[in-house]
Structures are given as C-alpha cells and as structure tokens.
Symmetry: C3
Subunit: 148 residues, 3 copies
C-alpha cells in the first residue's frame, strides 16, 4: 500500500513541491553536503513560509545536520559511528551490512527544516549531509516543501 519510490517523484502545485535528486557516493561510509541542492529546491518552490522535509528512502543511509566548515568534523562523526557499530561484528543478517542499517537508525532517515522568507533557517555552522553507510552507490533524496 505504501508508495514504492521507483519512478522519479516530481510534484509542483500551489503550496506543495516534492522533488527528488540523486547523490553518488564513492566510499562505504561518506557524508555528502546537500545543503545547496535542498536550498535550491526551496527557492524554486517560491514558498515563503513553511516546512521543508528531507527524506532518504534507503535503509542503509540517513541524513543529518552538522558542521561543514571543518571537514574533519564529519570524518570524526563517521569514525565514531564505525567504532560504535563495527562492520562484520557477528551479525545475523547475511548481507554484510547490518552495521549500515544500525547507523541508519541511529542517524535517522529524515530532517525537518523551517522555511522563512523563502530560505532554509539554518545556523551559521549548519549544513545538511546525506549519510552513506553502505556505498559506493547512487542514492535518492526526496525533498518536500509545504506552505505554512
């Protein structure tokens, strides 16, 4: 009954925009800054005041908000997650990516952002990162912008 996101989702109507874009990752664990792509969709929507949802339709990936100024921050987050949830540590699931699923649940599949004056409300140091935990792959991000 739920929707299978196979085809490209594109909706653009008064007060509601859903767009999708792809992210190509090149490592098993990798964070990719998607702030500009999300911000562009918000601008394109023309919605002045509202909510923006970033939703990752994958079970071995996620999305988080953190610092972009020093790329070492993201490297430290990835290392910490690898240490907390080591690869191949005697899991039952036989595809060898149980750690990826666990990281996905710890980090989360969606972020919600406030839209004001047609822009994302983000702190000075904040960026939105797509979190790859089972790459390299081509992944999808769904962005929904809704008018308040």
């Amino acid at each position: 009954m739920p929707f299978n996101i196979k085809d490209k989702v594109e909706i653009e109507e008064e007060g509601n925009m859903i767009k999708e874009f792809t992210v190509k990752t090149s490592r098993r664990n990798e964070f990719i800054d998607i702030t500009d792509r999300v911000a562009n969709i918000v601008r394109e929507s023309g919605i002045e005041e509202g909510i923006c949802t970033v939703f990752i339709p994958h079970t071995t990936a996620g999305v988080t908000i953190n610092e972009k100024a020093d790329p070492n921050v993201v490297r430290d987050i990835i290392s910490a997650l690898e240490k907390l949830v080591p690869e191949g540590a005697g899991y039952r699931h036989l595809e060898g990516n149980s750690d990826s699923h666990i990281k996905s649940t710890l980090v989360g599949a969606s972020e919600k952002l406030v839209v004001s004056s047609n822009r994302l409300l983000l702190g000075t140091w904040q960026a939105i990162f797509f979190c790859e935990f089972d790459g390299p792959r081509t992944r999808k991000c769904i962005v929904q912008v809704i008018k308040a």
Copy 2:
C-alpha cells in the same frame, strides 16, 4: 499546560486527521512493523498531498524506519542497541530502565513521512517500526496527517 494523552485522540476534519492506535509488545526489546496501520490512516484521511507524523508518547520507546524484508536486520539493530546501552549498567535512575530511556533518545520519538497521491512515500525496503525498549507493555502510537 501540554496535553496529557490519557484519552483517545481522534480528530478528523478537512485537511487534518489525528488517529491513535495501540501496540502490544511481548518482549523487553522488540520492534513491531506498523507500516500498514500508518498507511491505512493515511488512506482513510483522504489527504492526497501532505505530511504524516508518527509520534510515540512514551519515554522508553521510539519509532524508526528500516528494512523489513529480512527480520534479522531488526534483530541486529536491537542487539547493537543492547550492546551500546547495556541494561543495569550502574545507572542512577532506580526503576531499572535507564537503558530504555537512553535508547529512546538515540532512536527518537517521531518520524515524518511525505504523503503523495494519498500514499506514504517509502523506499522499496523501508518499513516503519514501533520500537519497544521496556516491554512487554501496551503502547500508543499517534498518527497525524496534514494536507499540504
């Protein structure tokens, strides 16, 4: 001042539906697939485009999105959380369920989903799981569907 969810919450008006359902758990740590129940509420709402919030009004439970195809994935997530936050590891809170509260904060109390064409936008492998961390109990899930 905030609402105490004691009575059943049921709201059904133009562009806004709030429904509640119960989940019975049978183990201390257990994930229960609630995708169909959430999807049914979305369908019932008649809302074509919008946002669906799943909110868990408990402090020793949570909600996550992950893979349903192989039930071992969920078992591995539960085991990893038990390893990261062991039961009875010298906590101050005397009810013996500090680990349950900690897991609840790590996993989170809500999920936000995009609704399009009156259906939940979910990836091929994604399911919504109620996460019990202090069962067995009877628990509540709140689902809100709002029109874009």
Copy 3:
C-alpha cells in the same frame, strides 16, 4: 543561500508562527527542560490544530524528548552519551569538541510535535529537553507552529 540565523527570527501571521528564545547552559553536557517555553509559544500562536517544530540552530547541541519526573533519567542519558562518545578520544577536528558534534548527530537537531486543541500532544512523562553538548553557552531554540 540558506538563512544565517544571526538576528532574532519573529514571524507571526495567520496560521504560521516562528519564535526564538535563548537558553543559558552552565555545564559542558546539560539537558534543560524547555517544554513550558515551547508550550507557551503554541498557546500564543492561537493555532488549534497543527504541527510544532523545535529546531536547534547549533552543531554541538540538540533536542530530545524524554522523562522529566526523575532528573536521574536525564543524568543517565548524559553519562551514557559521554561513555559512548568520550571527550578527546583522538579526534581529527582540533577544537576539542568532536564528541559534541557526534552527540548532536546522534540526538538530532529537531523535534516535531503534534498540536491539538491549541496544546502540545505529549505523553504523561514526556518533556522536551534542549541538549547542550559543548557548554556553558548561550544558545538559541527556534519554534515554528503551523496550522493544519
């Protein structure tokens, strides 16, 4: 392109309210109950049915929902996070607060709450906590209330 939250954000229009308040923390790791402040903004908005977003515009802080009745619960959560992600454990980022960034990603930067009858829908034991991971500091919380 995204918004830099430098100035105070204050929006109050039909069906949409964005307010900001500050939180002063006094320790490096500290959870502060902000439930009443969020509930007051919801009441002030006059919005009967809708969604409330609490967004933290910082990369070394977060927000979570957990128990307030026994303050030891929050202390146990803080201790567990300190144990999972120790301070100064050989990180690359040289500002000495990598652990703070990691905790921020684990806990998350936003919470979404259901608003019904002009009140927050919260379980009997639930409170909303601002999570400081790199204090003491003066921090901002953004609260958005949107009509359904």
